[in-house]
Point group: C2
Chain length 445, copies 2
């Protein structure tokens, strides 16, 4: 029953019922996602995948964000899904999955092929996130603990729901779309650390869009794909709480639990970075004046990021010592602070070796105490109760704009950057949401 009920809810939802705050959150998620996808568009993972599929692509229907290539909409969904997640800098739901990476690539590609208004786009995105998060949470955390990468396995439902909505599927077809999504659900956590991690949202976007397209042609599936004894939930999890999928529908929105990362590394390091950046800014600290940095953090931080001598940019993301040193020297912790060059910079290394970290079980993983001790004996201290980007202390719209500018500065012109930002904030007023994709590629002058 729950598959059919969810399908009915998706089909019956009305744009006017979506609260303004939720629609604004959709615009924030869109801006954040576009920055991540554009900012990763030169990444080796994206280049490999693009080279592999380009010889088979159909008509030039949809943009590869941040690049000149255009592909058919299913291939564009795949590649933009990969670039969404390759830096692990995309949004995260407070409890489970990365919501935008599987949904927005499918939706934006479809919006280029078939005219979709900004309001329809925002509405479909909200519904896609609702579907994927509710289905994901109905089997979480057991599903994740078994070894499934939930951004892939649940994300495919989000892409199917969102694009199915835009394609105007009826109740029966939406039921089939969810079923066709269910039987393509895939992605193993074993792939973490390889290029396949970002393949997962790419495949989810492509397969979810395929599910909606097939259903629109009356391609049939089981109508109890989620709840049947041999359906998604029971085959891919040991826990299933179907009420999570339907309870409070239209009363609360999963998108309101969405979080954005200000820094290009795992969440657990963020509070320490916050403290370093804030103290540097407030006291105009010169790196050369610093004697040492003392951190007190959650034990999880040392479990995950205790590399004392990282050798590459990627390893730098797993070193709270590097993160603190780079943040103090650069006053930032974007992708460039986790480049090979910065990780190997003698000035950064010298300060990194004077960072110490102590675990305290009483601290949350998004909390930290930071002491900066100067050579002249002065000490500046900061207690970061909640890292920037958590639900308790969300990134502001201006923070998201700054993040977008940082990610796209090397790829788009300043004028284009302003244009994309404006389009995002005006999302629900756009006549044609495809304009977002056309604005998000480098232009020839």
């Amino acid at each position: 029953m729950v598959t059919r009920t969810l399908a009915r809810n998706l089909v019956a939802s009305r744009y006017d019922d979506i609260p303004q705050a939720v629609l604004h959150e959709a615009a924030r998620a869109l801006l954040n996602w576009l920055g991540c996808a554009i900012g990763s568009s030169r990444h080796e993972t994206v280049a490999c995948a693009l080279a592999a599929v380009t010889p088979f692509s159909g008509p030039s229907q949809a943009a590869v964000l941040g690049r000149a290539e255009r592909l058919d909409i299913l291939r564009a969904a795949l590649i933009n899904g990969i670039s969404s997640h390759v830096l692990d800098f995309d949004d995260t739901h407070a409890r489970a999955i990365h919501p935008s990476a599987p949904v927005l690539p499918a939706l934006l590609a479809l919006a280029e092929w078939r005219k979709v208004s900004g309001a329809e786009f925002a509405h479909a995105f909200v519904l896609g996130v609702e579907a994927e998060e509710r289905i994901g949470l109905s089997v979480f955390p057991e599903h994740y603990d078994i070894g499934w990468h939930i951004t892939g396995t649940a994300g495919v439902f989000g892409a199917a729901a969102a694009t199915g909505r835009v394609l105007g599927l009826n109740h029966q077809q939406m039921t089939w779309a969810l079923g066709i999504a269910a039987t393509q659900s895939a992605g193993l956590r074993e792939m973490f650390g390889s290029m396949c991690k970002s393949l997962h949202p790419g495949r989810a976007a492509q397969n979810g869009l395929t599910a909606a397209l097939l259903a629109s042609r009356n391609f049939t599936s089981s109508e109890q794909a989620i709840e049947a004894p041999r359906g998604f939930a029971h085959v891919l999890s040991t826990k299933f709480d179907p009420a999570v999928i339907t309870d409070g529908w239209g009363e609360r929105y999963e998108l309101m639990s969405n979080m954005y990362k200000p820094y290009a590394c795992g969440l657990v390091v963020h509070a320490a970075i916050d403290g370093c950046i804030e103290l540097k800014r407030e006291h105009a600290i010169q790196p050369s004046d610093v004697e040492r940095i003392e951190l007190k953090v959650s034990p999880l931080v040392l479990e995950l990021t205790a590399k004392t001598t990282p050798r590459s940019g990627l390893e730098g993301k797993f070193s709270v010592y590097h993160a603190a040193a780079a943040a103090l020297i650069h006053g930032a912790a974007g992708e460039s602070q986790f480049s090979d060059a910065v990780v190997r910079d003698p000035e950064v290394i010298a300060l990194r070796d004077r960072v110490s970290a102590q675990a305290a079980a009483s601290l949350r993983r998004t909390e930290a105490y930071v002491n900066i001790v100067l050579k002249d004996g002065r000490t500046y201290s900061r207690h970061v109760a909640h890292a920037l980007g958590t639900l308790q202390r969300p990134m502001s719209d201006a923070d998201l704009e700054a993040k977008f500018r940082g990610l796209t500065a090397a790829i788009l012109t300043p004028r284009q950057i302003d244009e994309v930002i404006t389009l995002c904030w005006q999302l629900t007023a756009l006549e044609d949401a495809g304009a977002l994709a056309r604005a998000a590629v480098p232009r020839a002058y």
Copy 2:
């Protein structure tokens, strides 16, 4: 280790080491598969899927078997994978999966795009079957019992291995190809009875080929994708016997356990059909002379196929009564004996109502006793110890030719049919295996 070992075995295999009997079995499987795919090419499931993906297809690189359309190789693999399985008339390994449907569509599409000799093609197919069957059997039957459609979940490895071999992947790349396949492994048994059942081998073919193409561009995955704690085997099964994947490599071949169906319905009905056809032929029985047909069969037959009043062709496949009656009247049990028209034919219905079946626990599922009692009191009896198509009593090459002719008569000209049959038997001598695909589509005259 087992993923890397399998990859090494796949890469190191030499054509000259493959026994002639195995290569001949490859040709038999190829002929049987081509008949199924061509014969299903007008099916609604194929038409739906084709309509859904055609607007996004790339260059005309590969044939849709039995049809005029040409698609990019990844879409051709998808559609031909669907048509392979839509009648459930394709081959079956004695213990687990349908081996050809996920592998041959990928391989043949690739052979049209990139010149592949018949010997390379046969060799790659043998290796693909080896990979998918061994991986499938390493987690079987628990994996299947949980609810996974093993033809989809294991088939993706077969497609990746076979096409990876043709693409000339090295050991490292083949390891990645198996990993990229693993993280796309999908397909729920809940979909049985819907169009999604045949989507599974289609997706396996397409995703396996994608895995090989990505790996050829050095797209990375885990290198322990099958055996790691969060890899394929442990996440998708409660049983894992890695030795099944590697033991006796090159000494036995899974393709030698391949079975072909002479009749267009589930295996359990075949022995009863055999008895009816054989007795009719031997004694020139006229249907109008028959008083009744008495069957003694395995209890499984009545569990699965006890519909006494089937209303459609599809329901006829689940009625041992219809199957026996139609076989006696037509002397055959091909797809046309399971059409709506034959199921609703008054002559067939009249005889069907005089078929009785009794279960006997001592009988194998491929065994039956058939009594035909004539109105004049004569009775003809037959004990079918092993149905035609089992390993104990395989279909002959001539049987496979006849099956191919029956499936393709309405689609190809007699001359084309002869041509495809000849190409199959000459497989290992072909300079260009792509000729098979070009011969398997209707020609304009």
